[in-house]
Subunit: 313 residues, 2 copies
Amino acid sequence: MIKILDCTLRDGGYYTNWDFSKELVSTYLESMNMLPVDYLEIGYRNNPMKDYLGEYFYCPSYLLEQVKEASDKKLVIILDEKNVLPVHVDNLLKPCVGIIDMVRIALDPQQFGRALKLAERIKAMGFEVGFNTMYMSRWREFPAFLEDLRFVDQVADYFYMVDSFGGVYPQDVIETINLIREKTNIKLGFHGHNNLELGLINTLTAIEHGVEIVDATITGMGRGAGNLKTELLLTAMNAKDGLEVDFNALSKTVDGFSQLQQSYGWGTNLPYMVSGANSLPQKNVMEWVTQRFYSFNSIIRALNNQKQKVKDN
Amino acid sequence: MIKILDCTLRDGGYYTNWDFSKELVSTYLESMNMLPVDYLEIGYRNNPMKDYLGEYFYCPSYLLEQVKEASDKKLVIILDEKNVLPVHVDNLLKPCVGIIDMVRIALDPQQFGRALKLAERIKAMGFEVGFNTMYMSRWREFPAFLEDLRFVDQVADYFYMVDSFGGVYPQDVIETINLIREKTNIKLGFHGHNNLELGLINTLTAIEHGVEIVDATITGMGRGAGNLKTELLLTAMNAKDGLEVDFNALSKTVDGFSQLQQSYGWGTNLPYMVSGANSLPQKNVMEWVTQRFYSFNSIIRALNNQKQKVKDN
């Protein structure tokens, strides 16, 4: 049976700086208790940073306990490999023991060796471990990473393909699964973005080809163009496979996040489509779009220049 | 070479009651002149109706001439088979001669016989003829229609599959193409809706399997959840197939319609997902959603009742 992980609070935090109102989170957790979702990823754990970042960027003990109290689901936090060394693991994760079921690692495939070491420490503390490995469309450019893939099942439970640019098509998903399967039999996951509105079909294709866990977020809330929408995945699986869905519970939490969406405006648009289709990083695009200072026109011009590798004019 | 038909003004009219400002239309036509779009469907031709309906519902002569003046593209109007008899054709289409290149017929497959007669009259006036045949997901339920399909190439140039509920998947598109191919070799078209965000992948699948003309609208503007977005199709074909796209021209017209979208709110959401996934008509859903009187929750409840064929509670 396919497992669904909802990471609305973690991935949606890119828009709210990881602050969410108590009411919104409470409705979200209640709704999730009624829905066929297996894991909730609630945020990052991080060492203190200079800039202000909200609760769900750090997930302090009191927050972990509140969520645990309110939720029947398996809980997940994620570590960003580039900010965390193995020596930090004990401090960061001790408060999670007994509360958090899975710890995921977001990683650049070029740092795969470092991530393996990190995972070893995490696994030793008794957590399930997931690898969220970025840039799946470029993995063939990293032979050392592909070579080392065979070590991953010793330290991890799930190995995710992340469509970081939001530019992969169903055929690419199938080819990437085959590429991994040459190296390891670890359980696979898929995290899709929605720049080209391919989140659903890529995810369903992944499931059809043996992926065992998939990510989604309510209203697609997430960095840049956002993610596969949880409500779309559940509605499709309800109609296609008879998955039981409490649509009242689902629409309550969708309503809450839809209101936030009116202010923050996540979702795809022409700049995100162009960045996705051409595998350009969406971090810049998100800054340009959300500032509302540049016209789409000038963003498109800048992206075209990136694409053709010429200087902005 | 695949042909693209943009029907923003025709299909978008469901939201604006077929009124559009002169500025918006002028930017749209100018942009389209710069883009690799072959046909523009600008509206309906209709006999006078009792209720108020805007210019693009009737496309009077002065409007046809203005658009012809401003546009380099092949122009299209559509007739709704249920409102038009063969005896009306001369009156409705005489003003179109020399201006309009293609006349499409929107039809229920159960009225296919009537549509063939209508098409005969239209063809005799020298127009290209397109059949926009609704409810593709239910065609197997209409054996008389399937049997009569073999007559269509005598009176029409294009035969469109319309995903009226927005619920078909790529595999369904392939199967429907095969179903038609048993009966006729007419050139095929595809008109996708976006309830499940499958507009792009269904359209690309259709093209891959020999469909020769596809519909799209700027920002997806169109009845209910709306259509495949023209900007998404062009961006994908630019990145995948090297189709030349003037992104400045594209983003100018996208900007204009995006502003309208803020007021009218077309695009998919949970109620449209549920209606699409379960092949429920989106006309009711659109009324409920746009009135903003009912909560999504109560709409979902009503849809669930329709799905289970019980009375509203």
